[in-house]
Symmetry: C2
Subunit: 168 residues, 2 copies
Amino acid sequence: MQLTKGVEQAICIIVILSTQDKNVPLSSNEISRRLEVSPSYLKKIIRKLVVKQIITSVPGNNGGLTLAKSVDKIKNLEIIEAMEGPISMFPDTGLIEKAFKDGEYAEKGMDVLRRMFSRADQLLIEFFSSQTVADLLKESFGTTDIPTLNWNTASLSDVLREKKGEKK
Amino acid sequence: MQLTKGVEQAICIIVILSTQDKNVPLSSNEISRRLEVSPSYLKKIIRKLVVKQIITSVPGNNGGLTLAKSVDKIKNLEIIEAMEGPISMFPDTGLIEKAFKDGEYAEKGMDVLRRMFSRADQLLIEFFSSQTVADLLKESFGTTDIPTLNWNTASLSDVLREKKGEKK
DNA sequence: TCCATTATGGATATGTGATATCCACATACA
DNA sequence: TGTATGTGGATATCACATATCCATAATGGA
């Protein structure tokens, strides 16, 4: 019972974008370099987040990605469901119905397990929707404003400022 | 984020055994017939439950399976962990560390996600350990004493009684 | 208009783990 | 001794996550 790697990857993408100047899109290739994941694969992850309007994409020259909303508006549940669909713990194959094939218990038997697990689903939904990405950052770093300087490579915005001859 | 089918299968096995006379072992082949799962596969599922001392197995002629304890002593968490190991939602690949490769945030960054998800794990552990198989049966059927008669085939105990010339 | 850069989305390969089956063997009882 | 059973290892199959590539469209700048 594990979340997919995709959830971890998605969160990392969002955390990286959270350090990015909103006016300067970051290319998915740059993110792929930082996370050491292949560009083509990363784009697939990103598309799921774009569809759910968690991040915004602009194609073309000087295009790229920005967060569609601030980190305190992005619920952790959103990210999980963007990657995996609705939370549903129970792999309902109808096996329990075979156990109660005949007799008065047949119809009720179908609900035994579903009921318990949908309650567990609800528990997780409440838990993950009560927190945002901002909460994660704040709890770990004491701030949601992580300077771009800490990245291992110069940020795209730095590069662009330099191209334009601006100083930081 | 789903439990494996094995959990569903394990619960069905336990529910079937709960209707069985404790003194008359039920063969895994009979369970496999009822659930329409191959005998050899079902034995593998069963072995996991035997190792965790949830069910008891007796080899040899007239051997078979019985519950190692009553259904009100079998926590649902036990079953899940017997099949899947300890509950752990987060597929920790260390990706977040690549995002925070350098700088003061590197060490703290490692904990961002782990902390949240271990709290989610704890939530599930508490939920599933607060319930037993008896609770499931009681909630759905109003009783934990489901008569063997409702099975689609005659139970092994009936067959054995007949062999011995006993009447029900 | 042309070029470079970027996202889009389909096709496809790879890998991993769940699912499933079979077989040789040990055990128990009649 | 024979039959019925569980044990445990080897292995096959399948689903799905993971990963890559390629053709295409979109965008901005020269």
